[in-house]
Amino acid sequence: MSLPRITHLPSGRLLSAILHHQRLLPSIIPLTVPKRAVIQGEYRRPGQPRKAKFPWKKINFNFSKGLEGIKKHFTLLKKEFTDRWVGPEGKPIVEHMLEQNRAVWEFRGPESLGEWTVSSDREIGGHSEAYLKLGRNNNTCFLYGTLSSTPPRDGETRYSGYCTMRSKQPLASFDRKKHHDWSSFNTLHLRVRGDGRPWMINISAETYFSHQKDDIYCYFLYTRGGPYWQDVKIPFSKFFLTHRGRIQDDQHPVWLDKVNTIGFTLGDKADGPFQLEIDFIGVCKDYAHTEEFAYEAYKRNPEV
């Protein structure tokens, strides 16, 4: 309510209006913090089912599938026990010490596509499309589609036009979370064939608090458009911390002992078709790279 209107109020209502001062200044600041769903928006995380079903409706009792599931989980559990006798992560310690390169994701068959989740702004009502298939000779993965930066007509989204491909969290037996341990490596090595667009690589590490759920370490992947393959080596020291897409002030290097997922995002505001072909994603150890972190933090209270 603006000031002139207040003065027209009778004094009794003015007093109650002062006591309920939220009505006095409704459009300036909310004096209570809205709940998390309002701030963070209700949108379906990619990879989650479309309609929220009641838990009892989700039960699909199938005897043979159940048996298969039991067999799979117990096999994984047995493998975990026997791997312990061999060495860390199931490999002998000598192999762990000598390892300098490791191809973590290689797209050599249809089952490799099942480890990835593809999504686009279709989740929030946009018009981009993204698909993932195997490339030529079943040797590579091919992410393609169309970007459309027309925002969805829901009254609150202002920008749109992105698509992403993210690896699924590795799981141990009985669907327990497992992490990638890349602490012996310091560089990400990819072999890609893009279309000249600038992509962003997102690495998500294991977090503890719920408000760190969207903490992602990002860096850029500039692709050349040509028919030649491109070897990209990005040191992990270059990855910077973002939260929900916004770069944070308090930066720190990514700790590589518990990496959950890696993802590729395209959101370059250029409408039209895109494609990215990936041969493999690996990690390697570059002994000549000694930088710990590429970004320096400014002292917030410098002594003058």
Partner: protein, 348 residues
């Protein structure tokens, strides 16, 4: 960190432990323990890395739970017996509760699950303080209680040695290895507590010296996993030659200092008629020895893959003080012949 704040926190740590040492009233002892917890929290979280904050939170929750249990147990004892003396606690219920609370404080199995994750999230200096100084105050209390529950203590001890051995086997992160080593050593200390508290004190002090050396070695090499340790030959070759001795001392091999506590404990256990317990403890020490040997193998017996054909890299002088490391390494390696003198010093 601001040097004044750092000074306040370190003095707070010292004061907490001193208060617990000097106290004969349970409330004062509890207060000292709480001061220790609170003083180390900012030290652990000073780097503002999410993993450090996670480690701090986990540490605070476990230590607060242990302190609450301790307070509850001492109040129960006051209610049942009418007095607050630390050394006069005789009723089995408060004694058991206090033993379990102190076991959670120091990280004895089966209350050990927090220790590897917490140590992994910290930098090496804070990890050192956690592994050494923070164990003094709870041990001061453990040594003063009249242990009447022999089965509990033996179970705690054996479980710790076994879990410390098995858990550390496939680790590649050095801080987690040191956490499991801490659990195993604490197991040895608790095994002999009811028969000879002076041997417990001796084991604790020997463990402190050995862990101090190990942490400082890792700090000098700036290494937090086995692969980085493998490149330490180029940074400090003399230290790389000595570190296997430090690690073997942690493993308890003669003629190094680490053998002293194990020998005395096994002797005491056999005298008390617990030969199977002694055998099981000695066999589980083999598991720990395996991962110490693995560290020595990675560090001193192999060269990590590199492309330096003959030239060694520049070796710049370290900015870290080497005097404490030199002293503690000497003590870690050479103190076994002084066993009679040290036992005489510690026996009242």
């Amino acid at each position: 960190m601001n040097p004044y704040i750092l000074a306040i926190l370190l003095f707070g740590l010292g004061l907490g432990t001193t208060i617990t040492f000097a106290s004969s009233h349970w409330l004062l002892a509890w207060m000292g323990l709480e001061m220790n917890t609170l003083a180390i929290i900012p030290l652990m979280a000073q780097h503002h890395h999410p993993r450090a904050v996670e480690a701090t939170t986990k540490y605070f929750l476990t230590q607060a739970a242990a302190a609450a249990t301790l307070l509850f147990a001492s109040i129960t004892n006051a209610w049942l017996t009418g007095q607050w003396e630390i050394q006069q606690i005789t009723h089995p219920l408060p004694t058991t509760m206090i033993t379990l609370a102190l076991a959670l404080k120091i990280g004895l199995a089966p209350l050990h699950a927090w220790l590897p994750e917490v140590l992994q999230g910290l930098d090496l200096t804070t990890g050192l303080i956690l592994s050494t100084w923070q164990k003094l105050a709870p041990f001061a209390l453990i040594l003063q209680i009249q242990p009447s529950n022999s089965t509990t203590l033996i179970i705690l001890g054996l479980a710790s040695t076994l879990i410390g051995g098995w858990g550390g086997l496939n680790q590649t992160q050095l801080r987690k290895i040191l956490a499991y080593s801490s659990i195993a050593h604490l197991g040895w200390m608790i095994l002999v507590l009811q028969f000879s508290p002076s041997i417990t004190l001796l084991t604790l002090l020997t463990y402190f010296i050995m862990t101090f050396s190990t942490f400082l070695v890792f700090k000098l090499n700036k290494s937090t996993n086995i692969n980085t340790l493998a490149t330490s030959w180029a940074k400090a070759p003399a230290l790389t030659a000595l570190t296997p001795l430090i690690l073997l001392s942690l493993g308890g091999l003669p003629p190094l200092t680490g053998f002293m506590p194990k020998w005395l404990i096994l002797q005491e256990l056999t005298k008390q008629g617990l030969a199977p317990t002694a055998t099981l403890a000695a066999l589980s020490a083999l598991l720990s020895l395996y991962f110490y040997l693995r560290l020595s193998y990675a560090m001193a017996l192999t060269i990590s893959p590199n492309n330096l054909t003959g030239t060694t890299p520049w070796r710049l002088p370290s900015t870290q003080l080497t005097y404490p490391l030199a002293t503690s390494t000497a003590m870690t390696i050479c103190l076994l012949p002084l066993t009679p003198a040290i036992s005489a010093l510690l026996t009242p």
